[in-house]
């Protein structure tokens, strides 16, 4: 696969992933930009992979986790309303509970948030998430547990008995 073929076919999905991961279009844009530049430089190797988009998504995760904000200007973070305004474009159509959940999701530490996105958006099991993050499955479960507790999300009984999340 050539780089332009990858960009045309796979980039939209990578961008969606970045949008969900960051919850912030501007940050997602910055993160993917950085990743694209490095991807292009290394395309000879990355393009040889069976599914290069998977590798690129790992790069997106790494970039997001190491991203340094580049401004000193501050915006108050204390109220859910501030975050709601940031995350929700159309208040009229949004559900209040989902907005509240998104607001709380936006307050999670990055690694906890990343684990939730990989588990509940991408559908990865904990071993796969551990591979992406470069940590142990136990650490992944720890992140997930703390994040779910913070968000007051109750685990479904089937999740505990199935292979998923293990």
């Amino acid at each position: 696969m050539r780089f332009e073929e990858f960009a045309a076919a796979r980039l939209p999905a990578v961008l969606r992933f970045a949008g969900v991961l960051t919850g912030d279009r501007g940050l997602a844009e910055d993160v993917v930009q950085e990743v694209l530049i490095r991807t292009h430089k290394r395309w000879q190797q990355i393009g040889e992979l069976d599914r290069p988009e998977l590798y690129v998504r790992k790069m997106v995760v790494n970039e997001y986790l190491s991203w340094r904000r580049r401004s000193w200007r501050l915006i108050p973070f204390g109220t859910a309303h501030d975050i709601d305004r940031r995350l929700v474009a159309d208040h009229a159509q949004a559900h209040a509970e989902r907005d509240a959940l998104l607001a709380e999701l936006g307050k999670l530490p990055r690694r906890q948030r990343t684990v939730l996105v990989l588990r509940y958006y991408e559908g990865l099991v904990d071993n796969e998430i551990a591979d992406v993050l470069g940590c142990s499955p136990g650490t992944v479960r720890g992140y997930a547990s703390r994040a779910l507790a913070a968000l007051r999300v109750e685990l479904e009984p089937r999740a505990l008995s199935e292979e998923g999340y293990r």
Binding site: L74, R86, E97, E154
Partner: protein, 316 residues
């Protein structure tokens, strides 16, 4: 309690935060190589036109063309490299100073006016260091609209987005002021000194030539952070940035910088004075017609494929 399905649905809803391909690819193209490669305006125009027409594949091809190495002047690149080294050295040497920044709106169709004055100390803080800043936002007639001062702990590069600190807002429109102690979310500002540092560090510049700013010898540098051609003027003697002009959409803003020693008189400028008679409130009381902090637009939602296959090696 919420369910896992609630969480899944909420995450899918966040797909609206996905940037458009036509936004990301051209910007990546503009930064190809991250090092002093000459900008080729024609590529930009072609990309912009294709993006406007919504030709996704066409955009990709055009951008790939822009990403490919182009013809360049070696001496031009060396000049940029040399200037970059001098700039970073000058910035580092003055990192303990107060930076004063004046932001002027130069957008087409509007009368040029100062929209904000700000002070920040130290202007290149280290992780864990206490930072102090003040922003004085002005009305178009030059009168104060909001005066804010903040102090907070500088984050390490690998830390989270939030920093603990306090902020005092003085709202002139409602004659109120508030003091809050909380966590804070960092916002992006294309003209902020730390942004400038990153752009220089990343080599996103090319030397145009020598010029003058108010009779003062300066070096003009072009840099790219988007589809427009923005520029930076550097003091030809001290190599400190004097001015940047940045376009973002229809907005054009000029940022002028001064570097002040950390004397008692200058440090006092980091404090937002509270005029007599202003009432204290728990939260800032802004006028009802105040613009929102963030303006977002909906992104098209498309089904997202799962990634269950792992790739070899550790990218990053």
């Amino acid at each position: 309690m919420r369910t896992e399905d609630d969480l899944r649905a909420a995450l899918v809803a966040l797909e609206r935060e996905a940037p458009a391909v036509t936004q990301v690819l051209p910007k990546a193209a503009s930064r190809r190589g991250r090092g002093f490669l000459p900008r080729v305006g024609r590529h930009w125009r072609a990309v912009g036109l294709a993006a406007a027409l919504g030709l996704a594949v066409g955009v990709s091809v055009a951008v790939v063309a822009a990403l490919s190495p182009g013809p360049g002047s070696v001496s031009h690149q060396q000049a940029s490299e040399s200037l970059r080294t001098k700039l970073l050295a000058a910035l580092t040497a003055s990192g303990g100073k107060i930076v004063y920044e004046r932001t002027t709106d130069l957008s087409p169709g509007t009368r040029a006016h100062t929209v904000m004055e700000s002070w920040h100390y130290p202007w290149l803080p280290k992780a864990g260091q206490l930072e102090r800043g003040r922003e004085l936002i002005l009305n178009t007639d030059g009168t104060p609209l909001r005066d804010s001062q903040a102090s907070y702990t500088t984050l390490a590069p690998d830390q989270d987005l939030y920093s603990k600190g306090e902020i005092i807002d003085v709202e002139y429109a409602t004659r109120t002021w508030s003091e809050r102690h909380s966590r804070w979310l960092f916002d992006d500002d294309p003209g902020a000194p730390t942004t400038l540092w990153d752009m220089i560090h990343n080599g996103m510049l090319t030397v145009v030539g020598r010029t003058k700013l108010d009779g003062h010898p300066a070096i003009e540098v072009r840099f790219k952070i988007g589809p427009s051609s923005d520029y930076l003027l550097v003091d030809a003697r001290t190599y400190l940035p004097l001015r940047t002009v940045i376009s973002k959409g229809a907005s054009v803003r000029r940022y002028d910088y001064q570097y002040l020693p950390a004397t008692a008189a200058n440090l006092a400028k980091l404090t937002a004075p509270i005029p007599h008679g202003f009432r204290q409130t728990a939260q800032p009381v802004t006028p009802k017609n105040a613009p929102p902090f963030f303006l977002q637009t909906q992104a098209p939602a498309e089904p997202a494929p799962s990634i269950r296959q792992t790739a070899p090696g550790q990218p990053g």
